[in-house]
Subunit: 212 residues, 2 copies
Amino acid sequence: MLKVYGFSRVNKMARGKTRDLRVLWALEEMGLPYEVVGMDHPRHDLDTPAYRALNPFGQIPVLDDDGVVVTESGAILLYLARKSGKLMPRDLAGEAQVLRWCVAALNTIEVPILTAWFVDLNGGKGTKGSDALHQWGDMRLKQLDGWLAGREFVATDEFTVADLLMTHVLGAGTDESVVKDHPNVLAFQKRCIARPAWKKAFDAYCDRVEAG
Amino acid sequence: MLKVYGFSRVNKMARGKTRDLRVLWALEEMGLPYEVVGMDHPRHDLDTPAYRALNPFGQIPVLDDDGVVVTESGAILLYLARKSGKLMPRDLAGEAQVLRWCVAALNTIEVPILTAWFVDLNGGKGTKGSDALHQWGDMRLKQLDGWLAGREFVATDEFTVADLLMTHVLGAGTDESVVKDHPNVLAFQKRCIARPAWKKAFDAYCDRVEAG
């Protein structure tokens, strides 16, 4: 049975944004059976030697597939897509488009978006450094918006793990402030979170995780 | 013939750090024939509609494999590894370890390292936001240093595209300031850049690209 290490407690600000949801959504899309191992961050479940052996960075999520340990949400999605033959074309040329858009989500887009938020959270709001990060992120979102004009999905004609990843990197509808000025990105995101598998994964997450 | 879009002019600060080198190094490791299409950033070669059609973000590198267009250095490396059967195990469990460490390099490590540098470059040095990014990056490097204790390579027992990517994300020896306090990371990086393929790719790059 696939084992997913996910959060068992999440504060209000992070609710819906934690990366375990990327994996849980993918597993619902793929119809693969799994169990969730709930980790309580404030109670230091991630600081134990046993967990650090799985992931030296102490991050969530981790996938344990009968002893094959995979970390990093993006890597887990690509692994599951290859294992299941779902949410990614099977030919190398098609796979390449999913690869490029998964990496674009995790690097080209997430680098400025995540760190602009982080710097502001740490007292940097309104500083030159913060402004530069916001400008960088806005430029990337504008470019992404252009790419999505006339496209239903980001990598291929069908929904893939790259769409799932891009949607969640941009807040998965839990916070529209990042994408609100980019109509094609917003419409794309709404298309993706309208999928039953997102609703199922997100509802189960909300039922399971404690607040605080 | 594989076509790599790379820089034809690079300023002194960025020399060796541009991401086309990740692909050029991998191609030398794999022994695949290729040609470089030189792009002059200050002369706006990246701003043309033709280039934006290849990569909407206008970034270097792009790989064109007889019409299969791949962007994002990490995606190109994984594509080339799958195509050539080199620098990555062929079984899914082994591939998963390379996937996780490629994503760790591009996201867990590069997010704070790159943005701490970027914020400082944009007038943020010494601010709370910059300090928080540096602390985040230092924490990740310390965790990576622990993982590399007693390990020759980051993902498997052999050199893979994950080692190549991690080495270059950390400056590939062109700037040791990031890794100097982390002895296992430093030794790992030295092992990787001692490989003949890095020297060949880097020397050709230095011969080809103009300064300025």
